[in-house]
């Protein structure tokens, strides 16, 4: 009998799989989803010198990316994402002979990419350096050879093939940090610094023999950051900024020559910067700059007779660069001015005169912060005039390319590659709708005045509608008109677009169109249109920096008030630290318009202490604002807005918070005690999760906005098993290695109010990265099993049992009996970088889990696959319940990859949010790239399909009515006839 059952089981599982697979039709690609690719914060940037000059920009970034960007339109030519973390860290980048050479000294590799195609040409192993030591690259022997300084050795590679010529281990590496290498004629110079003591240098011959090894005293030198290396010279600035030291390393018996800067009338100098100018005039003469007395920019040159000479002093320069073109050497500078403007200036270094054709006022918005780096190319127009292209890399990680006319050619907001937190805010309703809501919001019950108000609002609505209609008609006519008119009216067009934008940024019928508010690590805040990902507004607060929580930096974003409470405006705030004081800083803004709160200081509200914990209250104040409660490091509460302190005082008996001391492994909970000095936290519970080598790495609460409508699940025998739905439950993960090289981690389920340990389990020989999804009555987490060398996913599901203890209200202080924890684990074929659960408005749609994988795919996996009740041996009951039989390996169907071939990399988080449609959940995956999509876990059950046949259904309905009428007539006639008989 059993044999005969098998095909049925097979068919059943096929049927299930078919049902659970959600694929995309070809024509749907890109309809609801979008992807943006970024490269991150640029560290090294060069214009490609091969082929057409300045056609391509070659960049390497903090996010371990090497990329080529088209200089005409700012689009990515090619991009390589190297290993994450330290092993892919790019220490240096050199562009030579169509090759982009990068040194990843953490991983011990030099890689050469073709600058046009981006293909990997060669890869050569070099000794690896620890994290704190940076390697250096230099060219030697007419660009044929590459000098690589990494891991206490100097290696010479053939720059065409990557073949090693020779390698030598440096001596005295324990005390000296070798950081610079350079070619000098036939020799190779390697220089190192022993902070507070001396500078060492080694000169090698072409064949790798030590020609000279010596060190000379430099007791004043505290750190290598004081020094720069250029053209065989080591140039250092004393710590008080009054003396410039420089030494020629290519000569015998080198020593520092001190020159006081005060002889040039300069004081308190800092920011030593070197420039490369290789024309004959400056051969062998390094040029460097220092900033003195805040902003004055002073350019020095070290002449052949080791004399220092002041070339030029400029006021207020933010960033500068020397560009060579044919026989001229130009110093290009940029300096910010008031009101979104900046001045770019070009100065001919030989004559010292400003080149008027290169000096221009450019549009440089305040939200870019200070320009950090300039890169440029000069070229000759057909008419013989000099043209230029300037790339500005700013404090906010943005890349802006300017043309000579000062026009912005393109802009890349690379800060979006480092998003820290995201919220999707509902757009406001249109004006007409808002007026209607205004009427309902009023609590005046006078009948006559209500009637008058109703009459006037409706009249206004009609008026607004007519106006709108007229505008629209006008706009259509206007657009036709525009086709004939030339660019002169572009500005007007832009204005009109803005008007359209306002109209455009209103809520749609199903609330699918939202404003994505993204906070990035540099303190820049973006408002993105969820429909296409375009930046709607930007705000920059350079003083706002992330704080550390569970070993990772965070910059949480809170939505105080949504758009649902018209006429009260929506409000969001970001909690971070002040860059200099390291105290808490709260920055409040309007999430739709992107305007900072009016009565807030420009940098935000500053707290008196650091941040221990912060939470939004679920209760709203009289203005529908949810106050933010911040627990500072001195265990005092800070309430924002200040006026709500009384409300929090009222709620104090039921306000509990907890914090974790991650390194000490202590988790402790507080209640709120009103005292004379305001609200103070008092320790109520403590857990000691400290184990040898373990640290708390994750604390994952439930989402506050999640709603659960099914209190239990119906079993095969028609009884109900109730879910354990503790809203205060928190998942705590402590991981580490236990001293003997064996990694393990523990999972704790803790009630955040009472501190009760609901469940705890440990995984031996397992390590992170761990991602946790905590939703409803279940927890899903993934980890790496070291013993079996595979990724595993585990699920814990909590049930109260067959009876529910308290059906109306949950209290952590009077908890139900401990829940039954069901658990199961699976292997997952792939590496997981982030996970999230879908969420819908009412919570009746089934849940899916979104898994961002390291290969760039985002998998949508049905929760049914992660059900601890999946039976090993299916019974009739389990089949009736629809439980899938247990298979240890989770499927990874390709058609369930929601981003099809739009791979996204280094995903750090997935943000899901409910739309107005119960079937639809909006998803934003963020990391190096951004990907936005809609997912429908139970398919689109509440919307008719695009290809719904209205005509057919309509004609059938009409036909049915006709037929029923006809038959009624016929029946009546027949009945009459019969009666006559």
């Amino acid at each position: 009998m059993k044999v005969q059952h098998n095909p049925w089981i097979f068919l059943l599982s096929v049927a299930f799989l078919v049902q659970l697979c959600l694929a995309l039709y070809e024509d749907q690609a890109g309809k609801f989803d979008w992807r943006h690719q970024y490269i991150g914060r640029a560290v090294h940037a060069t214009f490609d010198q091969s082929g057409v000059q300045g056609k391509r920009l070659l960049l390497s970034t903090e996010q371990n990316v090497v990329a080529a960007v088209n200089a005409r339109n700012g689009q990515l030519g090619w991009r390589h994402i190297l290993e994450e973390g330290d092993s892919g860290r790019i220490d240096d980048m050199i562009v030579v002979n169509n090759f982009v050479l990068v040194l990843c000294s953490g991983g011990g590799l030099v890689r050469a990419f073709h600058s046009i195609s981006g293909s990997l040409q060669w890869e050569a192993p070099v000794p690896a350096s620890p994290a704190q030591k940076r390697g250096d690259l230099a060219l030697h022997g007419g660009d044929d050879q590459l000098l690589v300084l990494s891991g206490d050795s100097i290696t010479v590679l053939n720059s065409d093939t990557g073949v090693e010529v020779w390698t030598k281990v440096l001596s005295n590496t324990g005390t000296t940090d070798y950081v610079y290498t350079a070619s000098h004629g036939n020799d190779i110079i390697v220089a190192g610094i022993s902070p507070g003591s001396h500078v060492s240098k080694v000169i090698y011959t072409k064949k790798g023999e030590v020609k000279l090894q010596e060190s000379f005293p430099a007791a004043w030198l505290a750190s290598q950051e004081q020094c720069q290396f250029s053209k065989g010279h080591l140039i250092c600035l004393s710590q008080d900024g009054s003396i410039v030291y420089h030494a020629r390393l290519d000569s015998n018996a080198a020593s520092f020559i001190a020159s006081s800067i005060s002889q040039y009338g300069l004081q308190r100098c800092q920011q030593l910067e070197v420039f490369s100018a290789d024309t004959e005039l400056y051969e062998g003469m390094p040029i460097f700059s220092v900033r003195c007395d805040t902003k004055s920019f002073n350019l020095f040159i070290i002449k052949a007779n080791t004399k220092l000479e002041l070339l030029k002093t400029l006021k207020e320069v933010d960033s500068a660069e020397i560009i060579q073109f044919e026989d001229i050497t130009v110093l290009v500078t940029i300096s910010r001015e008031d009101g979104d403007k900046a001045t770019m200036a070009g100065i001919d270094l030989e004559t010292g005169k400003e080149m008027t054709e290169l000096s221009v006022k450019v549009h440089f918005p305040q939200h870019h912060g200070a320009p950090n780096q300039l890169r440029g190319v000069l070229f000759k127009h057909k008419d013989g005039l000099i043209g230029m292209r300037i790339l500005v890399i700013s404090e906010d990680h943005s890349l802006v390319l300017y043309q000579q006319s000062g026009k912005v050619l393109w802009l890349r907001e690379e800060a979006l590659a480092s998003i820290m937190s995201v919220e999707m805010v509902d757009l406001p309703v249109s004006q007409i709708m808002a007026k209607m809501e205004d009427e309902f919001g009023n609590q005046n019950n006078d009948l006559l005045s209500m009637f008058v108000r109703r009459f006037t609002t409706q009249f206004q609505q009609v008026q607004a509608f007519i106006l709108q209609l007229r505008q629209r008609l006008k706009a259509v006519r206007h657009h036709h008109h525009h086709h004939q008119v030339e660019e002169a009216e572009v500005e007007q067009d832009e204005e009109e677009e803005e008007e359209d934008e306002e109209e455009y940024l209103t809520r749609d019928d199903f609330n699918l169109h939202k404003m994505i508010v993204a906070v990035t690590s540099c303190g820049k805040i973006f408002g993105l249109d969820s429909q296409n990902g375009h930046v709607v507004w930007r705000l920059y607060n350079p003083l706002l920096v992330p704080f550390t929580k569970q070993g990772r930096s965070v910059l949480p974003l809170y939505v105080h008030r949504t758009t649902a409470h018209f006429p009260h405006q929506p409000q969001c705030s970001i909690l971070g630290l002040h860059k200099t004081t390291r105290k808490g800083l709260l920055f409040t803004f309007h999430p739709i318009s992107g305007v900072a709160e009016e009565n807030m200081p420009a940098s935000g509200f500053e707290l008196n202490h650091g941040i221990l914990q912060a939470t939004l209250l679920t209760q709203m104040d009289s203005e529908f604002l949810r106050p933010l409660v911040v627990l500072s490091t001195d265990l005092k509460y800070f309430v924002y807005p200040r006026e709500d302190t009384d409300l929090v005082k009222e709620l104090a008996p039921s306000l509990y918070m907890f914090s974790s001391n991650d390194a000490a492994g202590i988790l402790q909970g507080y209640n709120t005690v009103p005292t004379d000095q305001g609200l103070v936290a008092d320790v109520m519970w403590r857990l000691d999760l400290k184990r040898e080598g373990h640290a708390i790495t994750q604390v994952v609460p439930k989402r506050l906005d999640e709603r659960v409508n099914s209190q239990g699940i119906v079993l095969g025998d028609r009884s109900v098993m109730y879910k354990y739905l503790n809203p205060n439950l928190v998942v705590v993960i402590a991981e580490g290695d236990d001293g003997q090289g064996k990694n393990s981690f523990n999972v704790y389920l803790v009630d955040g109010v009472s501190g009760r340990l609901v469940f705890h389990c440990n995984h031996k020989k397992s390590s992170g990265p761990i991602n946790v999804v905590h939703s409803e009555n279940w927890v899903v987490y993934n980890f790496w099993n070291q013993k079996h060398r595979r990724v595993e996913l585990a699920i814990l599901e909590m049930y109260e049992g067959k009876e529910q203890s308290n059906t109306t209200d949950f209290s952590s202080l009077h908890p139900p009996p401990p829940p039954v924890i069901m658990r199961q684990a699976y292997t997952f074929p792939g590496h997981i970088s982030a996970m999230a659960a879908t969420i819908t408005e009412i919570g009746i749609t089934s849940k899916h889990i979104l898994i961002a994988m390291q290969n760039g795919g985002i998998l949508e996996l049905a929760k049914a696959f992660l059900d601890p009740r999946r039976p090993e041996n299916p019974t009739a009951e389990s089949r009736e319940e629809g439980l899938l039989p247990y298979i240890p390996e989770l499927p990874r169907p390709f058609e369930a990859t929601i981003n099809y071939n739009h791979s996204v990399y280094n995903i750090r988080g997935i943000h899901t949010v409910a739309s107005g449609l119960e079937s639809t959940c909006l998803v934003l995956a963020y990391g190096l790239d951004l990907f936005y999509d809609r997912v429908m876990p139970s398919r689109m059950f509440d919307v008719l399909k695009d290809d719904f046949d209205y005509f057919f259904i309509g004609s059938v309905v009409v036909g049915m009515i006709l037929v029923s009428l006809l038959t009624q007539k016929l029946a009546a006639r027949k009945a009459l006839n019969r009666a006559w008989k």
Binding site: W685, R686, L757, K764, P815, P888
Partner: protein
């Protein structure tokens, strides 16, 4: 287990030996039922507000973690003044707090405690009856505790003060379990078993594939035939 041993003492020795090898901190057999593995000092406070003063309440003796065997000795746990304090705490809707030292003080760090609390009214109305859970990790270290009074909801009753003489407590030990792992081996066994059954069954039922599954194949073929005949018409329409 003892029935394999002829001499009780030898059995004990064997068990202790095995215990030493496997888990140096765990008790292996029933024979050592009443040996104390470790004892924990339970402290409590009836104070409210910041910086409460803790006093000794009793000692929890852990006999066996695996069989959840612990008892609590709490003589002289409190004074009549404490009961007055408790009443005040009930009146102010306060919390009763208990703690146990988990790590003694060292030169570099102060002593660490695990701590829990329960509404004072519940404890008062249940006449000092409570339930204590002690949570231990895999190697038997204390990680947390929780305390619950027997009556969960406060009704405002006044229990007679003679019932307030002594705490009436139960203690449960909960040890970390090991997390779930994929049941690959059992699954492979199951598949293997099914395969063997199939092979056995295959000897009995050695009809051909078509003979066995004709009832699925015939409808499929018919459907496909219909689909095929429908297609050319559509193609014709397109032309």
């Amino acid at each position: 287990m003892p029935k394999f041993c002829s001499v009780l003492a030898a059995c004990n020795a064997l068990i202790v030996f095995v215990g030493l090898i496997l888990f140096s901190t765990q008790v292996a057999g029933d024979d050592e039922y009443y040996d104390t593995l470790s004892s924990l000092n339970l402290e409590h406070t009836f104070d409210s507000g910041l910086n409460p003063v803790y006093s000794r309440r009793g000692v929890i003796s852990i006999h066996s973690i695996t069989s959840n065997n612990a008892d609590i000795d709490q003589e002289d746990s409190h004074t009549p003044q404490d009961i007055t304090k408790l009443k005040a705490l009930v009146k102010s809707n306060g919390m009763y707090r208990v703690r146990i030292m988990s790590r003694p003080a060292t030169a570099s760090s102060p002593a660490q405690y695990v701590q829990s609390f329960t509404p004072a009214c519940g404890l008062y109305e249940s006449s000092l009856s409570d339930h204590i859970e002690i949570h231990l990790d895999a190697s038997g270290n204390l990680i947390g505790m929780s305390i619950d009074s027997i009556s969960p909801h406060c009704t405002g009753i006044q229990p007679p003060s003679r019932q307030m003489q002594e705490f009436n407590s139960t203690v449960d030990l909960i040890q970390t379990t090991s997390g779930p792992f994929p049941e690959t081996s059992t699954y492979v066994q199951k598949i293997e078993q099914e395969r063997q059954e199939k092979m056995k069954g295959g000897q009995v039922d050695n009809r051909s594939f078509i003979a066995k599954y004709w009832m699925y194949i015939v409808p499929l073929v018919i459907i496909m035939m219909f689909a095929n005949t429908a297609d050319p018409n559509q193609g014709g329409g397109g032309r």
